[in-house]
């Protein structure tokens, strides 16, 4: 006989998992809505070229499907591409910024990985489209802080970089070496940097960029001592103002946990301003729970007339948050129990039992009511089962509609 198993990397969420996942999602959604963000639901399947247009996604990591016309489609590995596509064609970005949030599943394919990594994930995130500048950057970081605060997470670390600033630092390098320097920075490979064929001045600059991370004030003052061009100067000023603003606006904890890290960049050009990761320290180590950045060159790729709009956003990794929150005891330990068990005393009392259950459900709050057949031989077994499942009230319904309410002692 065939045993039906889920494919490797797939996972079912059972009611308790769902209750915990929803606990997290409700809280962050509440915060997103409070900041004026509206939920968008985009298609799970996208054209492969839509998913790959931004240059941040490797086609090999997308689960691909062919449609009836033979077009190559993929299961979305993230939401920003879909939202950018939908926003530039369907929303009025000219009349003001759009604040959008999502809460969706994404899929990832692992190439050459024998380890059976998970390939379906849940994400919640926001995109602020059509708004550039300091105010929008600060809004996104403060919203991120607010979201994780709503989950009661203790002092996560914010790793903050600036893609333009790092790019400017790399400008003096000869073009053939620049991408190797950048890759060595992004992959934290100092040995490779030391081995590159660079002039002493450029080697010093590369190692300076490699080691440039730490408390914002220290890093900013080190950067201030450099001879920077106009573009880099304005990126640095923007970063300075942003950090000051964060310190003034958020609670001190969040600002105190900020680390400016200019090698915290991607090997590809996607981000065009601040880029960040939110890291939570748990007993089993550090976990990235969120990430994001500014992407001012993305929307024009999807716009029919190639019109450009700024954009910035972040995504929270629901699985990582679940992992971090589970040992804290904040998540509901099990699915919520029913409030009532309604038991018709005989089969002639079924109608009355359904009617009484309906009456109980008429409340402004959710009242969970389930029905069970009576076992005239053994009423205690019914009580034990109810007790075991956390139900505290049983309504015994008679044929004539009379109800006897019994409170169970735990």
């Amino acid at each position: 006989m065939a045993v039906h198993r889920p494919p490797a990397g797939a996972r079912d969420l059972l009611p308790t998992d769902v209750a915990q996942k929803v606990w997290i999602e409700r809280r962050v959604r509440h915060v997103f809505e409070g900041w004026g963000y509206h939920r968008i639901i985009t298609a799970t399947l996208e054209r492969l070229d839509t998913l790959l247009a931004g240059g941040a996604v490797d086609g090999e990591t997308v689960m691909q499907v062919a449609d009836e016309e033979g077009d190559r489609l993929g299961l979305r590995p993230e939401l920003t591409a879909s939202i950018a596509r939908a926003a530039v064609t369907r929303l009025e970005l000219d009349s003001g910024p759009e604040r959008l949030f999502y809460n969706a599943n994404v899929f990832r394919r692992y190439v050459n990985s024998p380890h059976g990594q998970q390939h379906e994930f849940y994400q919640a995130g926001v995109e602020l489209l059509g708004a550039g500048g300091l105010l929008a950057d600060a809004e996104i970081l403060l919203l991120l802080a607010d979201s994780v605060r709503s989950l009661g997470l203790d002092r996560p670390w914010l790793l903050l970089g600036e893609a333009n600033l790092t790019r400017s630092l790399l400008d003096p390098f000869p073009p053939d070496l620049r991408s190797r320097v950048r890759r060595a920075l992004a992959n934290l490979d100092r040995v490779a940097l030391e081995a590159l064929d660079l002039s002493p001045a450029l080697r010093d600059r590369a190692l300076f960029a490699f080691d440039l991370r730490g408390r914002p004030q220290d890093v900013l003052s080190k950067l201030g001592s450099l001879d920077l061009d106009g573009k880099a100067k304005s990126a640095l000023d923007n970063l300075k103002s942003l950090i000051d603003l964060l310190e003034d606006c958020s609670d001190r904890d969040f600002a105190a946990q900020t680390i400016v890290d200019l090698s915290s960049i991607q090997t590809f050009d996607y981000y065009t301003g601040i880029v960040f990761k939110l890291v939570s320290a748990t007993e089993s180590g550090l976990e990235i729970i969120g990430r994001g950045g500014r992407y001012d060159n993305l929307l024009e790729l999807y716009h029919p007339q190639k019109k450009s709009y700024p954009g910035i956003g972040f995504v929270l990794d629901i699985e990582a948050l679940h992992q971090v929150l589970l040992p804290t005891g904040k998540l509901p330990p099990r699915q919520p129990p029913s409030h009532w068990l309604v038991v018709p005393k005989s089969d002639r009392a079924y109608t009355a039992a359904f009617a009484y259950a309906n009456k109980l459900r008429q409340s402004t709050h959710i009242v969970r009511v389930e029905l069970a057949d009576n076992d005239p031989e053994n009423g205690d077994r019914l009580r034990d089962t109810a007790r075991h499942r956390g139900i505290v009230q049983i309504a015994w319904v008679d044929t004539d509609g009379t109800v006897k309410i019994e409170r169970l002692r735990s």
């Binding site: 670390w157 934290l188 100092r190 320290a281």
Partner: protein
């Protein structure tokens, strides 16, 4: 507290000496009766994990150790996602192709297509022959690779060579060097970026110690 993964085998003694030079003493790992796999340094500032060399980057990649010492050959073979912070300059050796000294082959390309090549470093060996566009069958072994050509199982081997004595004593000669290897200081990328538990200071101290030592030798 910082956890440091240390490799069993040839790099252990130098690794422990280096850490001792910067104030962390794990020499208990070297005592003959030692069975412990995890010890605290006497100043209670760091924990040492004693693991197989191949496992060092695994513990570091998953963040159970924030820092590790491991040969470059292991990093090339496994390409783990870890930060490569310093060349520690000790444990020098090379990954080489070797054949029987009685064979006519004097470079990799002389080896006939579809020959068998025995190796512990399967991935590096495959990359080497792929780059030469020479189709060979790589036979994975876990030890005493020299026996491959001696028993006639393989025409050649790809193996780590330090002095070359083992090769000579087994009638083998080195015909190509894939790359030179030394011990490397690696770190868990996220831990290094965040810099908690004094990881940055420790890495700087180790790096200073190595460059100071290297300048004395030159």
């Amino acid at each position: 507290m910082l956890t440091i993964a240390l490799p069993k085998g040839s790099l252990l003694e130098d690794s422990i000496q280096l850490l001792k030079d910067v104030g962390l003493d794990f020499s208990a790992f070297l005592e003959s009766g030692n069975r412990q796999l995890q010890i605290l340094d006497p100043t209670n500032t760091a924990k040492g994990l004693l693991v197989r060399a191949q496992d060092v980057p695994v513990y570091v990649e998953y963040g159970q150790a924030q820092i590790g010492i491991v040969g470059y050959d292991v990093l090339r073979e496994k390409s783990p996602n870890v930060a490569h912070l310093a060349d520690l300059k000790f444990g020098g050796c090379r990954l080489s192709v070797a054949v029987k000294d009685t064979s006519p082959y004097r470079r990799s390309l002389d080896i006939p297509p579809h020959s068998r090549v025995a190796s512990k470093s399967v991935r590096c060996a495959r990359e080497h022959f792929n780059a030469l566009d020479l189709p060979v069958e790589i036979v994975p072994l876990y030890g005493s690779v020299e026996l491959g050509p001696i028993t006639g199982m393989s025409e050649a081997i790809v193996d780590l060579v330090s002095t070359g004595r083992t090769l000579r004593e087994n009638g083998l000669i080195e015909i190509d060097v894939l790359f030179e290897s030394t011990a490397r200081l690696v770190a868990h990328p996220l831990s290094y970026r965040i810099g908690s538990d004094g990881i940055t200071q420790l890495v700087d101290r180790l790096r200073d110690r190595v460059s100071c030592f290297a300048s004395i030798q030159n």
